[in-house]
Symmetry: C2
Subunit: 334 residues, 2 copies
C-alpha cells in the first residue's frame, strides 16, 4: 500500500466523518500532522464552539514531544493559540499538515487557523477542499504570503463529500433521511442497539427540524426528543393532510419546541438542517430533495416488514463507519 | 485519535483483509513497518507461493531509503531474503515490525521469516496472534533468542478473526456462504457490478468445492466456473434429492472438474475450503455449519425478492471493505 499524501489525507477524512453532522453549523473537518515523516496527530473538529481540527491536531502533535507541557490542560481555542504562538520554538517547521478543508482565515468564535499556521511556519500544508464560505476563505493566500508551501485538492472528491452537508446548509437546506434496518432490510420491531439510539438522539439535538409522517405519530405515539443525551428537542413538522391529532401524544408535551402539522413540503426549505424519520412512503416524493440517507444497519437477519420494497433508487456510498457493533452508512443519490 | 501499537496493527489487519480467502491454503497476514517513528510500509501476503507479508513489508521499507536498489527487481522470496541478509547494514535496527500473525519459523515454499528477522535485528516485533500451525510455530522463541523485544497479543481478537478461516481449513473445513443483495435485501435480477463478479470468480478459482442448490441449477442453468479471470473451475456438489438433471446445463460441460449430486451435507466435510452459493432455503439447515457469510451489498434499493425473510440469525461484522462502489461484508454467526 502506498504511503503518500492521499494516505494521510484519508486518515484526516475518516477522523472527520466520526463527527459528521454533529459539527453543525460548522463543517466537519479533519487534520493530520506528520513531523519529519513521523505521524504525530489525527484529529477532527468535534462540535461548534470547540477547537477547529487544526488546533486539536497542533495540540496533540506538540504534546507528543512535550508530554508534560502545561498545554495539556488547555482546551479553549484562544488559549491553545496563545500558547503555541509563544512556545512553538520552531517545533512545526519540519511538519506537514494535512487538513480536509482550507484553514479558516477569519476570527469567529475561535481565532483564525491560517494566521496561527503563518506564525508556526510548517514545511507544507496539504488541503483537501477549498473553503466555500466567503467570510472564512483566503487561508491559502495567508499561508503563501508566509512562504509556506501549499498543496491543493488532495483527495478533493472525498473532501467534497465530507464538506457537502456544510455546503448545503450554508446556502440553503441540508435534508437527510435517517433509517434503521436489519441486513435484509427489515424495519419493524426494535432494530437498533442502545448505542445507535444514543447517536440518533445526538442528531436530534443538532437539527433545526424533524419531519415525521402523520400515521407514524398516530400509531407509534413518539416523543421525538433527545432525552438519552439530555439534549434539546428539535422542532417537528408532522406531514399530514388531516390536522387532527390526539393532544396526549407525548411529542406535543415536550417543552421549548414548536410542532406544526402540514402537507406542504416546501416548508422544509425554511430550515437549514432537517432530519426525516419514519415516513417511508414519503421516500419516493422526497427523494429529489434528500441530500443524504443515514442508514443504520444492524447485523442480523429478521423476518419482518421491508418498507423500501416499492422504491428504485441508486446510491453512492459516501462513507461508512461503525456504531458499536452496527454500521452507519452515508448514502447520496446518484 | 491515539497513534499507538493498536493503530499500526489495525493498518496491518486491514491490509491483510484485502486478500482474505485468496491466500488459501495459507493464512491472510499483514505487516507494517515503522522506523524510528516513521511509517514505511503496509503490506500483506497476497497468494500462496508469493512472499509472506513480512517479506513484502521489509522490501518496501528498505526501498523507501534506497529507492534505486536492485532489490526493486526482486520478487521471489528467496531472492529478497538473500538480498536483505547481505545488504541490510543495520537498516532495520530502529524498526518496529507489526505483524498480524507470529512470523513463521520453518522453511516451506518460502524461507523462514523468523530467521530472517533474527538476522535483521529490528528493535521490536509486535504480534497480533500466535501461530496455530505446529510446523510453522516457534517464531517468538527464535526472535527472543536473538534478544529482539517481542510484544504479543496486540489486537488479538481482530487478529483472530483475520486468522479464523485458516484455523478452520487447517484443522477441518472452512465453509462460507456467498450472497449478493441490494441495500434493502433484494436478491433477484443482476445485483452485482462487474468488479464484484470478478471477485466471485477469483473466489471460485480458490475453493475446493462449491455447493449449489438443485433448483438453482435447473432454473438458472449456470456454468459456475472462473472464466472471467481465466481461473480453475471448482468441483461442484449439487444439493438435490432428485438426481436427474439435463446434461446440457453448462456446469456439466466444464473440463477438469468433478460434479456430484447429493443430499448428504456431511460430504462437505471431505473438503477444506467450501463456498456455498444461491441455496437460500439451505441457510437455515446450514447455519450451524457456516463459518462466514460473505455478503456483497450493492448500494441501491430495488423492488424484488427478499430471500432471507424467513430466517432469524444474529451476526458479528468481522470486517468490511469496498469492492469498487459496492461493499463486501464478512459476517460470523454470534
Amino acid at each position: 500500500m502506498k504511503i503518500d499524501d492521499n494516505f494521510y489525507m484519508k486518515l484526516a477524512i475518516d477522523e472527520a466523518w466520526k463527527y459528521q453532522l454533529l459539527t453543525y453549523p460548522n463543517p466537519a473537518v479533519g487534520c493530520v500532522i506528520v513531523k519529519d515523516g513521523r505521524l504525530l496527530a489525527i484529529e477532527a473538529h468535534k462540535e461548534a464552539g470547540m477547537p477547529h481540527a487544526e488546533i486539536n491536531a497542533l495540540k496533540s502533535a506538540y504534546l507528543i514531544e512535550n508530554p508534560n507541557s502545561i498545554l495539556k490542560t488547555k482546551n479553549n481555542s484562544q488559549e491553545i493559540h496563545n500558547f503555541l504562538i509563544e512556545n512553538h520554538d520552531g517545533y512545526f517547521n519540519d511538519c506537514e499538515i494535512f487538513v480536509t478543508l482550507e484553514p479558516c482565515n477569519h476570527i469567529g468564535k475561535t481565532p483564525s487557523c491560517a494566521n496561527l499556521l503563518k506564525v508556526l511556519k510548517p514545511k507544507r500544508v496539504i488541503i483537501g477542499h477549498e473553503d466555500i464560505n466567503k467570510i472564512a476563505s483566503g487561508g491559502v493566500q495567508t499561508l503563501e504570503s508566509a512562504n509556506i508551501e501549499v498543496s491543493l485538492r488532495c483527495m478533493e472528491k472525498e473532501a467534497y463529500n465530507l464538506l457537502y452537508p456544510f455546503i448545503k446548509w450554508s446556502n440553503g437546506t441540508f435534508i437527510f433521511y435517517k433509517m434503521a434496518q436489519t441486513l435484509n432490510g427489515c424495519i419493524d420491531g426494535t432494530i437498533s442497539s442502545k448505542m445507535s439510539q444514543l447517536y440518533v438522539h445526538t442528531l436530534r439535538d443538532k437539527v433545526d427540524l424533524m419531519l415525521i409522517g402523520g400515521n407514524t405519530v398516530r400509531i407509534d405515539k413518539p416523543t421525538l426528543d433527545a432525552r438519552y443525551i439530555g439534549g434539546r428537542a428539535p422542532d417537528i413538522m408532522i406531514y399530514s393532510k388531516n390536522k387532527i391529532f390526539d393532544n396526549a401524544i407525548p411529542l406535543f408535551k415536550v417543552a421549548n419546541r414548536e410542532v406544526f402539522i402540514s402537507d406542504d413540503l416546501f416548508k422544509l426549505l425554511d430550515y437549514k438542517f432537517v432530519m426525516v424519520e419514519g415516513v417511508y412512503k414519503l421516500m419516493n416524493i422526497l427523494k429529489e430533495k434528500i441530500d443524504y440517507i443515514v442508514l443504520i444497519v444492524s447485523p442480523k437477519i429478521r423476518n419482518g416488514i421491508n418498507a423500501l420494497n416499492e422504491i428504485d433508487i441508486d446510491f453512492e456510498i459516501v462513507h461508512e463507519n461503525y456504531l458499536g457493533e452496527e454500521k452507519i452508512i452515508y448514502l447520496k443519490r446518484k
